[in-house]
């Protein structure tokens, strides 16, 4: 045989075995099964990520608003009322509203469990369904958030703006930590040391009360002067700092 005649002959080679009938179908069946498994796995992780993400978003949003309001405490109180008794009427609404982020998270997790269970059964349609469910959860969570504020507003008989500001009240983040003590006009201010001043206030019943106010609780450049109005909030006899509360004192200028 000539050396150059082999190459063309080799190119005519055919496979020495026939492919069994139905092999492609068998392969596709296995691929479909795998696809369903991968889909379920993917849906599980994306749902989990979505639920965590949105819950974190709600809390994050709450934190941002809290911080914003924190810097403007006195103006918030100005919106509500100078009379501390009005503050107390918000207690019920506040208790409800404080639970909103928790409720939102619970709704998310309940939805998540439902969707995973549902998608495990359906398999192939998982992706589309999960995005619909995710959208639904966002709406429900947002609805519960806004609805909570509206309910709070109705219960306390104020505007939704006031009710929402109560939700993010930086002074009293937990209702159990809040206890209105007393308020009155400042009659005397004395420096105790570099960090503390002693303030005497005239209570509505005509008696006087003297408390030590740490300067750290006051805003920058804020000073307490005679004639100012001072509310003492918090546990009697102490300067407790519940939650992210900066101080028990709410001080108004003249």
């Amino acid at each position: 045989m000539k050396s150059d005649s082999l190459e063309p002959l080799l190119k005519t080679l055919k496979p020495d075995v026939a492919v069994p009938a139905g092999l492609a179908a068998r392969i596709m069946q296995a691929v479909d099964k795998k696809a369903a498994v991968l889909e379920r796995r993917q849906v599980f992780w994306s749902s989990l990520k979505l639920a965590f993400g949105v819950t974190a978003l709600i809390y994050g949003f709450t934190a941002v608003v809290l911080n914003l309001l924190n810097s403007d405490l006195s103006s918030y109180l100005g919106v509500v009322n100078e009379d501390p008794s009005v503050l107390l009427t918000y207690e019920g609404a506040r208790a409800l509203l404080e639970q909103v982020p928790v409720l939102s998270a619970l709704i998310f997790f309940a939805g998540l469990v439902y969707s995973i269970r549902h998608l495990m059964i359906r398999g192939v349609r998982a992706r589309k369904l999960s995005s619909v469910m995710a959208g639904l959860f966002v709406v429900v969570a947002a609805g519960s958030f806004v609805g909570g504020i509206a309910v709070g507003a109705t219960q306390s008989g104020t505007s939704t703006a006031d009710a929402s500001s109560v939700l993010f009240n930086p002074v009293v983040t937990k209702s159990s930590d809040y206890q209105y003590s007393s308020s009155g006009e400042v009659t005397q201010v004395e420096n105790v040391d570099a960090d503390t001043v002693e303030v005497t206030i005239l209570l509505p019943d005509g008696t006087e009360k003297t408390v030590e106010v740490p300067l750290s609780v006051l805003a920058e450049k804020e000073v307490i002067q005679k004639g100012d109005r001072l509310y003492i909030l918090g546990q009697p006899g102490g300067f407790k700092k519940p939650g992210n509360m900066k101080a028990n004192f709410v001080h108004f200028g003249q």
């Binding site: 082999l6 080799l10 190119k11 492919v19 069994p20 092999l23 492609a24 691929v31």
Partner: protein, 188 residues
């Protein structure tokens, strides 16, 4: 003009549906099966390997869809790796033989004196069929490279990649396979 393989792949990656993967399976299940059969010499095992090859390919594409691949050599590589694993379990093919280059001359010398028997010659009238039969008489490691080169139409580099052997070894195997075939087919 775009490579038809990359179009197939692109269509699948864009849709992400297993139905789009069917076109890839349809096009390549035969060559994958043939290659698997070459290693396993058992239809059931070859079918299992072919099935697993595509399942793994699907999984890999779904996880990492942005890489560029040459579909055919890639599928062949998966197939060979699966055959390798199977061979470890069953010990029906020695993959280390693929890399061995020594004792080749003695093999060629051995077969050079050996002609196809008259009965086979009588049965195989067509030259092409003679070649086919001669190829099947080659040692498995040569059959594999001959199949990949002439039936699957892979380049030397692709064969080296698929079989994970040096390029030079591929060339040596092919050269010796041809030499042996010539000796088989000398009377033609």
């Amino acid at each position: 003009m775009r490579d038809p393989d990359s179009i197939l792949l692109q269509e699948f990656l864009l849709s992400g549906e297993s139905a789009a993967f069917a076109a890839i399976v349809e096009k390549y299940h035969r060559p994958v099966y043939w290659l698997a059969y070459k290693f396993t010499h058992n239809s059931e095992d070859a079918q299992d390997v072919a099935q697993e090859t595509f399942v793994r390919a699907y999984e890999s594409l779904m996880k990492n869809s942005d890489r560029e691949i040459l579909l055919k050599p890639w599928l062949m590589t998966i197939c060979v790796n699966l055959c390798r694993n199977l061979a470890k379990k069953k010990k029906n093919f020695n993959f280390s033989d693929l890399e061995r280059e020594e004792e080749e001359d003695s093999f060629v010398e051995r077969v050079q004196g050996k002609e196809l028997n008259p009965r086979e010659k009588a049965a195989q009238h067509e030259v092409v069929e003679e070649v086919q039969t001669a190829v099947q008489k080659l040692p498995k490691k040569y059959q594999v490279v001959v199949q990949l080169r002439y039936i699957q139409d892979l380049s030397y580099e692709e064969i080296a990649e698929v079989l994970r052997i040096p390029l030079n070894t591929v060339k040596v195997h092919l050269n010796r396979a041809k030499k042996t075939l010539k000796s088989y087919l000398a009377p033609l």
